[in-house]
């Protein structure tokens, strides 16, 4: 009996130790140097470089990014994910956050973007205007409407007065890029910055100014953030000339 109980206590201690160590690996360290930034998928390349530049200027800082569709990120923040900064690809998703009272400060628009049609290199299907996408033989993909690039796509289609039935609603803009780059889809609606980022793997077809929408990207610190000081410094860096230059180099416009 004594033997079994000792073994049980030992086993319980091992389990508790394992659980504690597993848990503490995931929790952010208590120091102020770690910064968690949730950013829209279209900001992947630009913000990664911003993060590197930020760390170069502030050697003690450590920035971790989570890139996904803005609506996905809002859902995570609303459910209590520990985040310091949130950068959205549209004002609507940011409004959901402010309506829920999760903003630490007022959101500030830090960049703009334009939508563009992405096609395979050389534009083999010969698409020149948005109306061309209505061709039934084309495989067109777009983001799901709740994701910013999806809602922009719907606005553009409405402006052009065309009814487009996409083959698929993707969960973020990078998934649309992937489908076209891999040759599965003939065309998709993405941001100009995504076409630039795809480089030689894709080509872009500009959307006329009369039809296009200007995407506004707001950034905000989160209420009750683990690192509010770091959040403020990071946002200031994004808005600084150095930050703007990095964003511009990826094709983002200034607000």
């Amino acid at each position: 009996m004594r033997n079994v109980r000792t073994k049980f206590i030992a086993a319980a201690m091992v389990v508790a130790l394992l659980a504690a160590s597993c848990g503490s690996d995931d929790a952010p360290p208590a120091d102020d140097a770690t910064l968690t930034v949730f950013a829209a998928a279209s900001l992947t390349a630009a913000f990664t470089e911003l993060g590197d530049a930020f760390t170069a200027e502030n050697p003690d800082a450590e920035v971790t990014f989570n890139f996904a569709g803005s609506s996905d990120l809002v859902a995570q923040i609303t459910e209590g994910a520990p985040v310091d900064v949130f950068a959205s690809a549209d004002l609507a998703n940011m409004a959901e956050l402010t309506d829920a009272g999760l903003d630490g400060d007022d959101p500030v628009v830090f960049a703009t973007n334009l939508a563009e049609i992405i096609v395979e290199p050389g534009n083999p299907t010969g698409i020149t205007v948005v109306a061309d996408l209505a061709d039934g033989d084309l495989v067109v993909v777009q983001c799901a409407p709740e994701v910013p690039c999806g809602s922009y796509a719907e606005q553009i289609f409405a402006n052009a007065g065309v009814e487009i039935t996409p083959a698929s609603f993707e969960e973020n803009v990078k998934a649309v890029v992937t489908k076209v780059v891999l040759g599965e889809a003939d065309a998709g609606i993405v941001y100009r910055t995504d076409v630039i980022a795809a480089g030689a793997d894709a080509a872009g077809v500009t959307i006329g100014d009369d039809l296009n929408v200007v995407a506004e990207y707001p950034i905000v610190s989160i209420a009750d953030a683990p690192n509010p000081v770091g959040a403020r410094v990071f946002i200031e860096f994004v808005l600084s000339p150095a930050g703007r230059q990095i964003l511009a180099s990826y094709g983002f416009g200034s607000p």
Binding site: K7, V139, F169, K179
Partner: protein
């Protein structure tokens, strides 16, 4: 049962029960019926059931011969072939979806010929959903049936053959009834896996209501706009799966692998 083991077992039960209790606690019961009867829900549900049943049927048609091959036929490299066929069980589903792309997509290894010669495209179609689901679900059936075939006493089949029965008759009247519990368990596992498939489906088949938006995809997307609806849909899927599993009872799972006395 010794108390320490009992405590651990109770913790395990609580571990599985807690998420379900959490869902029930957060569910918007006043709006539940509206969400359950919404067009998008019923479309996704119907699509999920149809595709998962097709995937299960394909898994049985192709999986049982494969299980037979792996269990009964000794050929060089059998271990490697078995590992290959069961690979999708350990592969992250999205990886499976990407791999299917490169094999059966419009520019894929085989897919480009399907597209050029037969005008068949699998991505963005319901057939593509079935393919993705079969890819992830079949190994569950293969592994269960292979185990049963290995444990089956070959003398039963030998006796049948020596009495003059054809191979097909022996298979139908001796082998199949003997492995029926394993086949059922494997089919249910494959069906459940196909029903819950998300990563390979959204990557390979895409997401469009009515064609490729299965229940897991619908839950994922509604989580972003309307978490209440997502909770209701999730509970619906859990209720369906729970009913099937309870309905099958111990007698099917318990008899897996045990040699069955076949009436002479």
């Amino acid at each position: 049962m010794p108390v320490p083991a009992l405590v651990l077992a109770i913790v395990a039960v609580a571990f599985f029960a807690l998420p379900l209790v959490g869902l029930i606690w957060r569910a918007p019961w006043s709006n539940a019926w509206t969400y359950l009867t919404a067009d998008t829900t019923l479309t996704a549900l119907r699509l999920s059931i149809v595709t998962s049943l097709c995937a299960t049927a394909l898994s049985i048609v192709f999986g049982v011969p494969l299980a037979w091959l792996l269990a009964r036929v000794d050929f060089p490299g059998r271990g490697a072939v078995r590992a290959l066929c069961l690979l999708s069980m350990v592969l992250p589903p999205v990886v499976g979806g990407v791999a299917l792309f490169f094999a059966l997509g419009r520019r894929g290894l085989v897919g480009q010929y399907l597209d050029q010669w037969f005008d068949i495209t699998l991505p963005f179609t319901t057939a593509g959903v079935v393919v993705a689901q079969t890819f992830v679900a079949m190994p569950f059936l293969v592994i269960t049936v292979e185990a049963a075939l290995r444990q089956l006493d070959p003398r039963l089949e030998d006796a049948s053959r020596t009495l003059g029965a054809s191979r097909w008759y022996t298979f139908r009247r001796v082998t199949l009834p003997a492995i029926r519990p394993a086949l059922t368990a494997g089919a249910v596992l494959a069906w459940a896996r196909a029903l819950g498939e998300f990563g390979a489906t959204i990557t390979f088949a895409g997401n469009f209501p009515g064609t490729t938006q299965t229940m897991p995809l619908a839950v994922y997307l509604s989580l972003e706009t309307n978490p209440e609806e997502a909770i209701v849909l999730a509970l619906l899927m859990i209720a369906i799966s729970f009913t099937v599993l309870v309905g099958l009872r111990d007698r099917w799972f318990g008899a897996v692998g045990r040699p069955v006395q076949v009436a002479a």
